[in-house]
């Protein structure tokens, strides 16, 4: 104690402060794919909030996630990795099925369009399958809407189910989908 404080005072006065960096916006096309060992983007993992690669780690406003999704689904494919961070951030902040589903959707696009290095592609596929599976396991009743008035509500469980199959994955947990007479898909689960 007696020596620590003076030492620290000296260190402080010697200017051992971190330099400030002015922020000029993040180029979303250059965001690196996350560490493949993490469970980022899979509920309940929230490590995305601590990731320095995440341009949204300080938060993401309401419409930004949709804007960036539009970019990814449109012509700005290079922004899809950033879109992943955006939706994963939103998922960590607000764990609902919609955020989990579109995290999976972005990952699927990354895989299908080969938007990351070949080394990371298997991870993108596996992560997408896990994200879909998380929709089934944690948010099986979740739904989303196309418009703000939500007159075209659609359920995300069946979509996640088919997403796994489309990617060649295996649905875990006894989930299956049935169609009613109107052709509407319903997510069901067999008794364990």
């Amino acid at each position: 104690m007696n020596t620590t404080l003076p030492s620290l005072l000296i260190l402080g006065t010697l200017g051992c402060q971190t330099e400030s960096t002015y922020l000029t916006g993040v180029d979303l096309g250059t965001v690196p794919y996350p560490d493949t060992s993490s469970a980022m983007g899979i509920h309940p993992d929230a490590s995305v909030l601590d990731s320095l690669d995440n341009p949204f780690r300080y938060g993401i406003s309401g419409n930004t996630k949709w804007d960036i999704l539009d970019l990814c689904l449109g012509t700005s494919l290079e922004s899809c990795v950033a879109a992943f961070y955006g939706w994963a951030t939103q998922l960590a902040i607000e764990p609902i099925g919609e955020n989990q589903f579109y995290t999976a959707e972005v990952l699927r696009r990354i895989f299908e369009r080969e938007l990351v290095s070949l080394a990371d592609l298997p991870d993108a596929r596996d992560r997408a399958i896990e994200a879909y599976q998380a929709v089934l396991d944690h948010f099986p009743e979740s739904s989303s809407c196309v418009t703000e008035t939500c007159e075209n509500r659609y359920f995300l469980g069946p979509l996640a189910y088919y997403g796994i199959l489309d990617l060649g994955g295996t649905v875990e947990g006894g989930w299956f989908v049935v169609q009613d007479t109107d052709g509407v898909s319903h997510l069901m689960r067999s008794e364990p």
Binding site: G12, T24, G25, L28, L71
Partner: protein, 1115 residues
């Protein structure tokens, strides 16, 4: 090696073992037999006593005998003729021996006739048994016990005690030298088993040569240990060994009947007694040898095989009289007798109650007979005295290993000699009730208190007799014993017992209670708004029981329990302590609505532990307040005050909870505090404080180390019941402060430094500046930068100068605290009750200057403050995506104390000014003391406080709590605004029984939500107390509701009225709950800014009304 024994009891049937090794022995040459000398009788005692440096007990404490003591010369002239032998001068050197003549037998001890007025003494706390090792305790403890017990024994004229051969020799001497009480040493002679080559043989066969040799060796080892020990009176071999003859052998089994078999076994016992007695005489000619027989069983065999003994000792339980015992011993054995045990129990087995009077009456008669049968009294002349059984109750004796804390009243054996409680076919001898004294449970050191039964006083009177006085006659004895009876001492015992019982009751008692029976009639309806259109009545029953435990004077614990009856669901303020038990409707798996009642009907309301030690005091608290350390060197207020009034009740918060340790003696100045939440919102943490005086400086250091975060899981909502938005646990931290105070004649200077938040070094944070050029962050007009916490940000310093000179007082203060150099809160008041003060939080610098000018009863105290954060608050900038450049400008939120290493809150930029005017004719009852409204004694006292805060910039975001307890940040703060506040208080004291208080506020404030309004709210609260009546009223205009979330979310009511009238049992002290009954009423109007307004949407002039009736009984 195990050594076993049974209690010295009337009927020893159970063996008990303890680990004490027998001592070794040496065989010595045989000396001559002991006998007496008339010449020595006349002149020897004094010379011998001087030679041996023995202080005669009777010399230091004269006894009051009914007959005048005779002079030594007279005694010599009246001494009877020696019957058998001529005097032998060599005998004079013996410590103790038996003198025999025609008048009987006398024990001579240290040259003087010695009548044994003995006691079977031992020390055994309740809850212990035979394994208790009293002599293994510390010398200090043993001395404490001996001083008490030997003092009592000495005062009752006891002159000898019986002890097994385990008492350390130096204590024998200590007892003798300090209290003149001799000790009869009692080797057990294989009574409860013997060790043979390392194996314990519990059933002793006295015919077995190996066992006989082992017993001899064991006994002689004891003789060698004690024979030269000052204070030893005589040897007592065994303890009713004739009751333990149970072995079988071919020799025994060949005998024709049980009697012959018993005799055969007994012959082996007594022949061994004779042999060992001879060996003892050879080794130690200075002490006579007695054998402890059970009554007079096998007396003929003793005479035949153990005639070497000097004394027959016997445990005798024959009732009031031993009848022919004394004469038979003379006639059939030709030896004196001492009663090694006798007495009576103090429990009436027939009636199932204690009867200490009868016990005393038995001892009265038994001792009278002992005196009557003593030397020269015309009787058998064989009585040498006896050892009363026993000193204190033995709570362990029944079952010996079970129910040790129970004073068992099961009688163990029948005895028709004790006629008062004898019933044919039933036991009447209660082993655990033979004590001359009762005892209390021990304290933490193992020490217990004694309550002397009537028997104590009977013996005290009985032993006033000097049986060795040759002039004492049987008539004298009978006359003396006729002067007192046991029953006349019963009141003494009853008083002593009552005191002890009261002391016991202090160890666990009902310390307080509060019963609340209330009804509430309201327009609120339930939480869903049902019933809001009609008056609903509900009721509440709530009981608080406060129990205290005080196992010793230095340790006290207190717990308070709340028990619920019905919990009303119609209250307009639905969150209160009892509401935890309100009925909840939920939906089960089948989709059915289920009502959950009976939730948490019983809850620990609070508790505390206070332990006063020699080196430290310990204070443990759970929902009990504690003070800050600001006056003891905690200059930056790390250890916050934790007196919250009713707030923790409202939120069912288990705060504060922790332990304080305060050093004493060599550790004075040291303090330690730790706990899960030592103040509301604290993380699990530990505080250490050291304080020293160095010259004219008082120096102190405080360190705080958070151990975990967040506190009690509030971040995930699981701690919902433990916090509010105003007590949010912040990030884990580590803080160290140094403080020095210099004082002289009204001037004090405080200097301090803080080093805090070093665990946050490296954490990144955002800052912003107004953009200097055309480009800005996302077009916001601000440049945003990212930086990280460094060492410099952990440091801070503060200085304060306080001066009091006559009517003038001054306070000047300046502080610089780095971004994360957070203090706690400053609870200290200087000179007056200023409310404008600098922040204790980091990330700011401030300067403050205040004056207080006293003129008569009036004080005028201006105070100014300048404060500015080092790094300003963040304005919220919405995130934006530039589709053209593909650049994303992440959203910028205002900081908060959970997500960011620091924030701008009460450390916001402030230019403040305050004018405080106070009128207090009696400053002895200081106006700013927390309990002043209760204690103020001036007819009028008054203050008016005007405060203006110019706040040109925003603060950062507050944190609020959702209904499920999850914490969240608003992400931005309301617009910057200046605030003014006016506070005023008037106390009017009409008499000591009547007073009134008025407290008024009006001022500006803002809620925590980003779009909060700038409110002007006002309130007036008044209380009048007229003798036992108390009336209160409060008016609030445009004010927040009662809960923190009202302030968080900007929920106000246009008008709030509250009133109450109570009739009280007495005038309540602060925080005291007194018995009372009365009425309460709450009324408030609602608008679109009000909580629950949606329930009344569409109503014309919506309002809520609640009327309560209360009957509350407090203890």
């Amino acid at each position: 090696m195990k050594w076993c024994l049974v209690s010295m009891s009337p009927k020893a049937t159970q063996t008990a073992c303890f680990g004490s090794a027998p001592v070794g022995f040496r065989r010595l040459a045989l000396p001559g037999l002991a006998w007496t000398s008339a010449l020595w009788l006349a002149a020897g005692p004094l010379a011998l006593a001087q030679e041996l440096e023995i202080e005669s007990p009777s010399a230091s404490e004269e006894k009051a005998a009914p007959a005048a003591p005779a002079a030594a010369e007279e005694t010599a002239s009246k001494a009877p003729a020696i019957r058998e032998t001529e005097p032998n001068p060599a005998e004079d050197s013996r410590t103790a021996y038996i003198r025999e003549d025609n008048d009987g037998y006398q024990l001579i001890f240290n040259g003087e006739p010695y009548f044994i007025e003995g006691m079977n003494w031992g020390y055994m706390p309740i809850g212990e048994n035979y394994s208790y090792d009293f002599w293994g305790k510390s010398d200090a403890f043993i001395e404490r016990v001996l001083h008490r017990d030997m003092g009592l024994l000495r005062r009752m004229n006891v002159n000898s005690i019986r002890q097994y051969a385990v008492i350390p020799p130096h204590w024998v001497t200590w007892i003798f030298e300090n209290y003149g009480i001799s000790t009869m040493i009692n080797p057990l002679f294989g009574r409860y088993g013997i060790d043979i080559d390392g194996s314990w043989v519990p059933n002793v066969d006295y015919s077995d040569p190996a066992i006989r040799e082992a017993i001899r060796a064991d006994t002689m080892e004891a003789i060698e240990t004690y024979k030269d020990v000052k204070g030893v009176l005589l040897w007592l071999l065994g303890n009713e060994n004739n009751y333990g003859l149970h072995w079988t052998s071919f020799e025994i089994e060949a005998l024709p009947d049980a009697s012959a078999k018993d005799d055969a076994r007994a012959r082996h016992l007594y022949s061994l007694v004779g042999e060992v007695t001879e060996a003892i005489h050879a080794a130690d000619p200075n002490h006579p040898v007695a054998f402890c027989n059970g009554d007079l069983q096998y007396l003929h065999l003793i005479a035949e095989h153990a005639s070497q003994i000097d004394i027959l000792a016997s445990n005798v339980y024959r009732g009031r009289s031993a009848r022919d015992l004394y004469q038979r011993v003379r006639d059939e054995l030709g030896k004196p007798i001492l009663l090694s045990e006798f007495g009576a129990d103090a429990y009436d087995a027939a009636r199932g109650r204690e009867d200490a009077v009868v016990q005393g009456s038995y001892l009265h008669d038994q001792w009278r007979e002992l005196y009557e049968q003593a030397y020269g009294k015309g009787g058998a002349g064989t009585s040498l005295g006896g050892y009363t059984f026993q000193w204190a109750d033995g709570w362990w004796k029944y079952l010996q290993e079970e129910n040790l804390d129970v004073h068992d009243n099961n009688a163990s054996w029948p005895n028709g000699g004790y006629v008062e409680d004898y019933v044919e076919g039933q036991n009447n001898m209660n082993e655990e009730w033979f004590g001359i004294c009762a005892k209390t449970p021990p304290d933490s050191t193992g020490f217990y208190e004694l309550q002397c039964r009537p028997a104590y006083y009977v013996l005290q009177k009985a032993h006033e007799l000097d049986a060795t006085d040759p002039n004492l006659t049987v008539d004298d004895i009978q006359a003396h014993f006729s002067t007192f009876a046991s029953d006349e001492f019963d009141s003494l015992y009853a008083a002593s017992r009552s005191v002890a019982d009261l002391e016991e009751m202090k160890k666990a008692f009902l310390a307080g209670g509060w019963l609340d029976l209330s009804t509430f009639t309201s327009t609120h309806g339930n939480a869903d708004g049902e019933g809001k259109d009609a008056y609903q009545l509900d009721h509440m029953e709530s009981f608080y029981g406060q129990f205290a435990f005080q196992p010793s004077e230095d340790l006290r614990a207190e717990v308070e329990i709340n028990v619920l009856g019905n919990v009303p669901t119609n209250r307009i303020d639905p969150v209160f302590y009892e509401s935890r038990g309100a009925k909840i409707n939920t939906v089960n798996e089948d989709g059915e609505t289920v009502s959950l009642a009976n939730l948490e009907r019983v809850r620990l309301y609070g508790s505390s532990v206070e332990w006063t030690g020699e080196r430290a005091n310990i204070f443990g608290y759970f929902r009990r307040g504690h003070y800050h350390w600001g006056d003891e060197g905690d200059f930056f207020g790390l250890y916050k005050e934790a007196h919250y009034g009713e707030s923790p009740d409202t939120y069912n918060a288990d705060v504060p909870i922790g332990v304080e340790v305060e050093g004493k003696g060599p550790y004075s100045g040291l303090k330690l505090a730790f706990g899960p939440q030592v103040y509301w919102g604290a993380n699990p943490t530990v505080f250490v404080k050291g304080q020293r005086q160095l010259g004219s400086w008082a120096l102190a250091a405080v360190h705080q180390e958070d151990l975990a975060s967040p506190s009690l899981g509030v971040a995930d909502g699981s701690g919902a019941a433990n916090t509010t938005g105003n007590s949010v646990p912040e990030q884990m931290t580590r803080k160290t402060t140094l403080h020095g105070r210099w004082q002289r004649s009204g001037l004090s200077v405080d200097l301090g430094g803080i080093f805090a938040g070093s665990n946050k070094i490296g954490q990144s944070y955002l800052g912003m500046r107004e953009a200097q050029g055309s480009a800005s962050y996302g077009g916001s007009g601000f440049d945003v930068f990212e930086s990280a916490i460094g060492w410099k940000d952990t440091l801070g310093a503060k200085g304060r100068l306080s001066l009091q000179q006559g009517p003038w007082a001054l306070l000047a203060e300046g502080a610089y605290q780095g971004l994360v150099a957070d203090g706690g809160e400053d609870n200290q008041l200087f000179h007056t009750g200023w409310s404008l003060a600098g922040s204790a939080r980091g990330n700011h610098t401030h300067g403050r200057l205040g004056f207080a000018i006293n003129a008569g009863n009036v004080q005028i105290a201006p105070n100014v403050l300048y404060q500015k954060p080092l790094e300003g608050a963040l304005s919220r900038i919405p995130g934006s995506l530039n589709p053209t450049t593909g650049k994303y400008f992440a959203e910028v939120f205002a900081r908060d104390v959970i997500s960011d290493p620091f924030a701008v809150l009460d450390n916001r930029e402030t230019w403040g000014a305050e004018l405080l005017i106070a009128v207090d004719p009696t400053p002895g009852t200081w106006m700013w003391q927390w309990d002043n409204p209760y204690r103020e004694d001036a007819p009028y006292s008054f203050f008016l406080d005007l405060v203006y805060r110019h706040q040109p910039t925003q603060r950062d975001s507050m944190v609020a709590m959702l209904e499920n307890g999850a914490l969240f940040s608003f992400g931005e703060a309301p617009e910057a605004a200046d605030h003014w506040d006016v506070r005023a208080r008037l106390i009017r004291v009409w008499s000591s029984e009547s007073r009134g208080m008025l407290f008024a506020t009006v001022g500006q404030t803002q809620a925590h939500v980003p779009d909060a309004r700038l409110l002007i709210r006002s309130s007036i609260e008044g209380t009048a107390q007229l003798k036992n009546w108390m009336a209160s009223a409060a008016v609030h205009l445009a004010d927040f509701g009662p809960y923190d979330y009202h302030r968080d979310f900007d929920l106000t009511y246009p008008l709030q009225l509250k009133g109450s009238v109570y009739r009280m049992l007495k005038r309540p002290k602060p925080n005291e709950r007194v018995s009372r009954w009365g009425l309460t009423a709450s009324f408030r109007t609602l608008d679109e800014n009000s909580d629950y307004f949606e329930l009344y949407d569409g109503d014309n002039a919506p309002y809520q009304l609640e009327i309560g009736t209360h009957l509350q009984v407090g203890l």
